[in-house]
Subunit: 506 residues, 2 copies
């Protein structure tokens, strides 16, 4: 009765359960905690990246393992930015540093390069009892915070301060920590948070969970998903009666759309935030993932400081993660938040709040250290590190082009330039009968398309409805992470599916 | 202006700031986010384990490093259950498993025992792309959940189901996840959660942060901190007008008081919870830390199932952590929650909620696996593992006795038997002038005592006021974690301080 089956889980997603037979949920005894009295915000929230299509993908993978016959032999998990899962090899330097801090006996081995050992020693020196098994300070290990600050200083050419750095279990925890500060059930009006549409659903899910308001501004697909000030003004003003808007979130490079904001665009956002007294949350986890020839990454911090004056004094939180970039170390759960210009009284409360969660994984922090403080030229690890890093970044660039060209060449699909990040977010022009078919199943048209794609090809993507999109438009997000061979195979599976789908529902 | 100094942080603790000169916090510009409009729950919450005494301890340690002259040459961090920081050595097997999963090249080495390699292979087999860098499933890696269930089955002699296991970043995250489900700002009355007094302040801090009500039941110090039903009834009934009480938390073995509940006591709690329809949260992270000859650990799960009938059907969440036991791997951040009898619709929502946080550290999960699925007899690692484990547990037992006897022999201190866990919670009978001195500084008497102790001896403890205590009583919590030599030194520093304090304020 109480078994948690995928079917059970599926039932929570609106509409989606019609794809699977539902189990009856007749209960003898009423539970203390039940669907009526539980946290209503948890009920409301949705997180499409791990939604019903992914769950169905997991089922199919298990069926295949058991020898079920399908039109495909494997599931391609193009739904989530998980590089290693799609065959990317870890960076040797990062893993050696982590292994040495975990098991310091390794430092006696001649197989481990000297610069790795020095690196590991530096970290262990700042660990209680020289062990990664000790709790660290809640904001992170001191030397690692310093290396994060050094990395930022070098990136921007403007000195950073390690006191502003907070190491977290991935950017996810950092984003949740900052949003948590704005929760105020006692406020006259709910606090509003501006988020881009399309957006990474962590934002919408966390806002729902925390009872904060979503103030949605639309990115301009016709201008390669650029951000425009009139649209920001529209969103801000239209929500004024409903919300007391205090925050603007920007994802740059963009997830899911892969755009890279121009410096001009960033300046506009900063001026807009200044005008309306908004706290800026800059999700910059893809800062190392830039592919387009004419694109360059500018941090909000750099642009703000260079604008100077009051602009330089604005409240900003910026997020970084070892899960993205060339590292792809999602499973190690580490990242940092840099907090600038926050009221010191709030900072004190923030420190108190994070202290009750003790600290983030020290081994994750070691990986973060290896990412922001990589081998120096001339060091024993440098050549291999450089080779591995450039190989990954070049291959991502190649795959970004491959995906864009492949989708761009198909009838009924438009694909913007993938300037950065790890995703394509192609637009679908679906035939009329597909809308009707989706409606009859009670799902969104692009959900219908993505589920049909999965069932026909084994390719797992996320429908645009999970990220948000202009009404009447249809999209899906796919990562560019399958390794080149698998990517080619994926596209070979995709093309016939797409043309058959278009034909079938014409 | 915006530097985060310890002084700044200290200001957030009521009364405590008088110990240090405060910085003026005059601000030119009003911030978007400020102390008036920020999350009021974050303002309210306190977390004494990392409170002002610990922060002052950190300052003193830095002063010592810089060559400052003090009546002591080191800080003894007896404030937090952090074994490795106090000199405990990691278990070789755990660290080898973690290192091999992080850097699989190691598995080619003849220095790594075969059973470690098999273990690491098993884990990597269940990782996406066979890499710990991939996101895991949100509830945890499949084989590790299975090993947790096997551990529980063996512990209780009653089969467990891996579907009920959720791996988390330490027990802290698990406890927060469960409490989160009960938050309901829209409910007629706030939801109340019964917590023991004294308690581990994660509970009070999280309840405050989440806006849940603290329903405090007092443990009976005269009966070695036993739990009694009349007191549970009193607490429940007295809070009835204020709260809709839905949860009872029990910490067994106890933190901070070190008691181990009898089976009889556990049965009483289960019957009480059944009578009043309460969800049981059993914090059992110290289940491997039992020292008293007449004490034995019984899990709530086992007692509930053995009581049978409707008792066996009660909703229960139990917590386990690699931070405690003989492992002491706090920094690796891993633990599990076993959830029993939860409404499947709520389970589905729970799965959705945790999915937005993606997964807990995979390397932490590997450590958890090595803890719940240790080497088998006959395996290459078994002898060393067994030797290391028993050495640690025997030494903890010895230190529990040492601490209890030392405190018990002093005038003005009473110390209950340390039956389990990692702490002593001695009661102070302070002289009258000490109360006056504390009052003049605006702090609690035991805060005053603990701060004086720190300044005189370098021993960092947590005053009873941080855990809660019967009005008019005074305590402090110290861990039994300093290694035996350091522990003896600590007691040698403590005794003269205490007798001088008693003399001075007589």
């Amino acid at each position: 009765m109480k078994t948690i089956t995928p079917t059970n889980i599926l039932r929570v997603f609106r509409g989606a359960e019609r794809y699977l037979s539902t189990t009856s949920s007749v209960f003898a005894a009423k539970r203390v905690l039940n669907i009526e009295n539980m946290n209503p915000n948890v009920k409301t929230m949705e997180f499409a990246v791990r939604g019903p299509i992914v769950i169905r993908g997991g089922q199919l993978a298990k069926d295949l393992e058991k020898g079920a016959k399908k039109p495909f032999t494997s599931i391609v998990k193009a739904n989530i930015g998980d590089a290693h899962d799609m065959g990317q090899k870890p960076i040797t330097f990062i893993r050696q540093v982590v292994a040495c801090t975990a098991y310091p006996e390794l430092m006696k081995s001649s197989e481990i390069p000297e610069d790795v050992k020095e690196h590991a020693k530096l970290i262990l020196h700042d660990c209680g009892g020289h062990s990664v098994g000790s709790y660290g300070p809640s904001p992170g290990i001191e030397c690692i915070r310093k290396h994060c600050a050094d990395y930022i200083s070098q990136r921007d050419g403007i000195p950073a301060n390690s006191d502003d750095i907070y190491i977290t279990a991935g950017a996810t925890e950092g984003i949740r920590n900052i949003l948590k500060l704005f929760v105020n059930e006692k406020a006259r009006k709910p606090v509003g948070v501006m988020i881009p549409i399309p957006q990474y659903p962590l934002y919408s899910a966390t806002l729902d969970e925390f009872g904060l308001g979503q103030v949605r501004y639309y990115l301009d697909e016709d201008k390669n998903w650029a951000l425009n000030t009139e649209e920001l003004e529209r969103a801000y003003h239209e929500s004024k009666n409903k919300y007391d808007t205090k925050v603007i979130c920007v994802i740059n490079p963009g997830n899911p759309a892969g755009q890279v904001l121009t410096r001009q665009n960033i300046e506009e956002v900063i001026r807009f935030a200044h005008k309306h007294d908004l706290f800026i949350m800059a999700d910059e986890v893809y800062q190392n993932n830039i592919y387009a020839k004419n694109s360059k990454f500018f941090s909000f911090r750099k642009v703000m400081k260079e604008l100077g004056g009051e602009y330089a004094e604005q409240e900003l939180a910026s997020f970084y993660s070892v899960s993205k970039g060339y590292m792809g170390e999602c499973g190690l759960r580490s990242g940092y938040t840099e907090i600038l210009n926050m009221d010191p009284e709030v900072v004190a409360m923030f420190n108190k709040m994070i202290s009750s969660k003790l600290c983030s994984s020290i081994l994750g922090q070691a990986a973060l250290d290896a990412a922001v403080y990589p081998p120096k030229q001339g060091g024993a690890s440098y050549d291999l590190w450089f080779k591995e890093m450039t190989k990954i970044l070049n291959s991502l660039k190649e795959r970004a082009k491959l995906v864009q060209e492949a989708y761009g060449s198909l009838e009924g699909i438009e694909c913007s330039e993938i300037q950065g990040a790890l995703y394509a977010y192609p637009r679908l022009h679906l035939p009329h009968k597909a809308f009707a078919a989706a409606k009859s199943k009670g799902v969104q048209p692009d959900f219908f398309y993505a589920m049909e794609m999965l069932e026909a090809t084994g390719i797992c993507t996320v429908p645009g409805s999970g990220f948000g999109q202009k009404e009447g438009t249809q999209h899906f997000r796919t990562t560019i992470l399958p390794q080149t061979d698998l990517m080619k195979e994926m596209l070979d599976r995709f093309k016939p599916f797409h043309s058959e789908f278009m034909k079938k529902y014409k």
